[in-house]
């Protein structure tokens, strides 16, 4: 086997393309959880926004209208989740799981009702978001490496991909270098302290949830109107849980979380390349076992390399001004 057989280039490109679904959702989770609200409902929000973006994009023939509608729905769900967690002081896990289950059913029912295609939307065709071709791509396309680097790795993606990558420093900045971020983190660590300092814990958490809603919707929109070009029932296929995993893996810190997302994207891509390839010594690994690669790697990395992950202290606990 040669180096060429590994297709490093294609793995990297594929990583870049796979990661945004997770990055958006993980950054959404980060906002919610750093403010103290467990966001196990990412999956449901991804699914709902994926459906709504696809349906609206199809109906209006405008992908941006789809994205906007996805944002709206995801924000509504996030606010509902916030209402359960913040105002009702209910169990946050229950709230999130309820949303996941409800959306898995509802998206199908509504899609079926409108489109009669078994919980699928029609193909978006021209209403998809298309890839950006960077200026000068044609000129450099044939230069070895640089051509690949500029047109394939850096260029040639949808706007949402760039947004996903740009989000990471932005989230970092908001979280650590703004007063909102400071308050948000305080609410997640010690809401009583934040409250005593005159910060409204509830309002801060609501805002965090709304942001989480917005970010999460991009994940769904990316899935439906960029990657697939239609909506299919349960198409999130666990992305929300994986994003949550990346976030825990990244110790609730944006950059590490981002690395976690890239890792999943990367091993997902490696796994594709490994299938059916004869490896030295091991030989050909059966396809079903190759599917395990990203997950096994995660467990090994978590068990072996990472220090204990430390969640925000007040996470999951409704804020009650009482002893």
């Amino acid at each position: 086997m040669t180096f060429e057989d590994l297709h490093i280039g294609s793995i990297l490109v594929s990583t870049v393309r796979n990661a945004p679904v997770l990055i958006f959702a993980a950054m959404a989770g980060l906002f919610a959880e750093r403010s103290g609200v467990i966001d196990i409902g990412l999956e449901g929000k991804i699914l709902a926004s994926a459906f709504v973006s696809a349906a609206v994009a199809f109906a209006t023939k405008n992908p941006w209208a789809g994205v906007a509608a996805g944002v709206a729905v995801s924000v509504v769900l996030a606010t509902l989740q916030g209402y359960v967690a913040i105002t009702q002081k209910g169990n946050q896990l229950v709230g999130g799981i309820a949303i996941n289950i409800a959306m898995s059913g509802l998206t199908f029912v509504v899609a079926q009702f409108f489109f009669q295609q078994g919980g699928r939307t029609p193909d978006l065709g021209e209403a998809r978001l298309f890839d950006v071709v960077l200026p000068g791509s044609a000129a450099v396309a044939d230069i070895p490496f640089l051509g690949w680097f500029y047109t394939k790795l850096i260029g040639g993606h949808s706007v949402l991909v760039y947004l996903a990558f740009a989000l990471v420093p932005l989230v970092h900045w908001v979280l650590y270098h703004t007063s909102f971020g400071l308050r948000l983190r305080a609410c997640g660590e010690n809401p009583h302290a934040a409250d005593a300092a005159g910060v409204s814990v509830e309002w801060t958490r609501y805002r965090a949830m709304i942001i989480a809603g917005v970010l999460c919707s991009f994940s769904g929109a990316y899935l439906a109107i960029v990657q697939s070009g239609f909506f299919l029932r349960d198409m999130s296929a666990g992305a929300g849980y994986l994003a949550l995993t990346a976030m825990v893996f990244g110790n609730w810190r944006p950059v590490y979380t981002f690395l976690g997302c890239l890792m999943f994207g990367f091993f997902g891509a490696v796994q594709i390349q490994l299938e059916g390839v004869d490896l030295p010594v091991i030989g050909r690994i059966p396809g079903a076992l190759i599917q395990m690669v990203p997950y096994v790697v995660t467990v090994v990395v978590l068990a072996g390399l990472m220090a204990k992950s430390v969640a925000p202290k007040a996470i999951g606990v409704p804020f009650v001004k009482s002893r």
Partner: protein, 310 residues
């Protein structure tokens, strides 16, 4: 009186863009032509399959069509309990004097897909994307590879499976990703046998200017000019025929394996892919088709326990 007919889809549901949907279409065609209605149900789990079949059998239906191999055991069991009710099992083999098991020689149709693919491919690298790594899907893959090798010994088939859970049939993003990665490895024709995930494959092929091959129903029209052909598996015809036989009183129990000869599988040539199928390709495929029907070429079915020769 009109026969009382029923159809039981498996977990994929009647809109799965695959064999359930095809069965539904066959049954609908029958209804349209004869005006005879049928009851349809979806069984989401093996337990439910049994429940549904028994429930329908109790209603004294004359014929129940069970779609998908997952219902094999349930059919076998319920058929024994209700000897007067007739069962048609699609894609699986169940025992019983009142059961007709219909299987398809997917390997034969896939062989044609492989021939067409290898002819159309410039790189002689062909892709195959399956849903889950199960014998049925491997049968497609192996027939496809045999067909490709028959055109050019050196042609190579790269295989990927979408996943390991039921979600693998509904993951177009992953399907698209797999297709992309295959294209980057030099593949220029890809055969998708992955339910809803296959849509992602076909779509990506269209985007990347590559060729794809559809499956089960004729998918040529989905992305005209990009779908090279489709490996049509006539589940719909099988259901239609069974209903018709019941109506005409010609129904028979047994095991039917439907290949090219029996019209169970075929390749699709229509106005959508007419331009893609050059006279050479058409000639080659037609010849291969004839050879198989005549028995000159034997396509290996790996489900019999044989190793895939290609």
């Amino acid at each position: 009186a009109d026969p009382k007919l029923g159809i039981v889809y498996d977990a994929g549901g009647k809109f799965d863009k695959s064999f359930n949907q095809s069965a539904f279409e066959g049954a609908s065609r029958f209804q349209k032509e004869t005006g005879i209605k049928f009851i349809e149900v979806q069984a989401s789990s093996d337990t439910q399959a049994e429940q549904v079949l028994r429930g329908l059998a109790r209603k004294n239906l004359d014929l129940i069509a069970s779609i998908g191999f997952a219902q094999t055991q349930a059919v076998q069991k319920v058929a024994k309990e209700f000897p007067k009710v007739r069962f048609v099992l699609i894609d699986g083999v169940a025992q019983g004097a009142n059961v007709n098991s219909i299987t398809f020689k997917e390997e034969e149709g896939s062989y044609l897909a492989g021939v067409a693919g290898a002819m159309a491919s410039k790189t002689k690298k062909l892709g195959f994307i399956g849903g889950i790594d199960i014998p049925l899907i491997r049968t497609f893959a192996c027939g496809y590879a045999q067909g490709a090798k028959s055109v050019d010994k050196k042609s190579e088939v790269i295989q990927n499976m979408v996943g390991t859970t039921a979600a693998a049939w509904n993951d177009p993003a992953k399907g698209g990703e797999l297709a992309r990665s295959q294209f980057e490895r030099g593949v220029d024709v890809v055969f998708a046998v992955a339910g809803g995930s296959g849509n992602g494959v076909l779509q990506t092929a269209k985007e990347k200017g590559k060729l794809s091959i559809g499956v089960d129903s004729n998918q040529n029209g989905l992305y005209p000019g990009s779908v090279l052909t489709s490996m049509v598996k006539n589940v719909g015809n099988a259901v239609y025929d069974s209903f018709m036989q019941q109506k005409n009183g010609t129904w028979q129990a047994g095991v039917t394996a439907k290949g090219l000869k029996e019209g169970g599988v075929d390749w699709a040539l229509d106005e959508h892919n007419r331009k893609l199928i050059t006279p050479e390709i058409e000639k080659k495929v037609t010849a291969a088709r004839k050879d198989i029907i005549d028995g000159k070429v034997k396509v290996i079915d790996i489900r019999t326990g044989a190793n895939c020769p290609a």
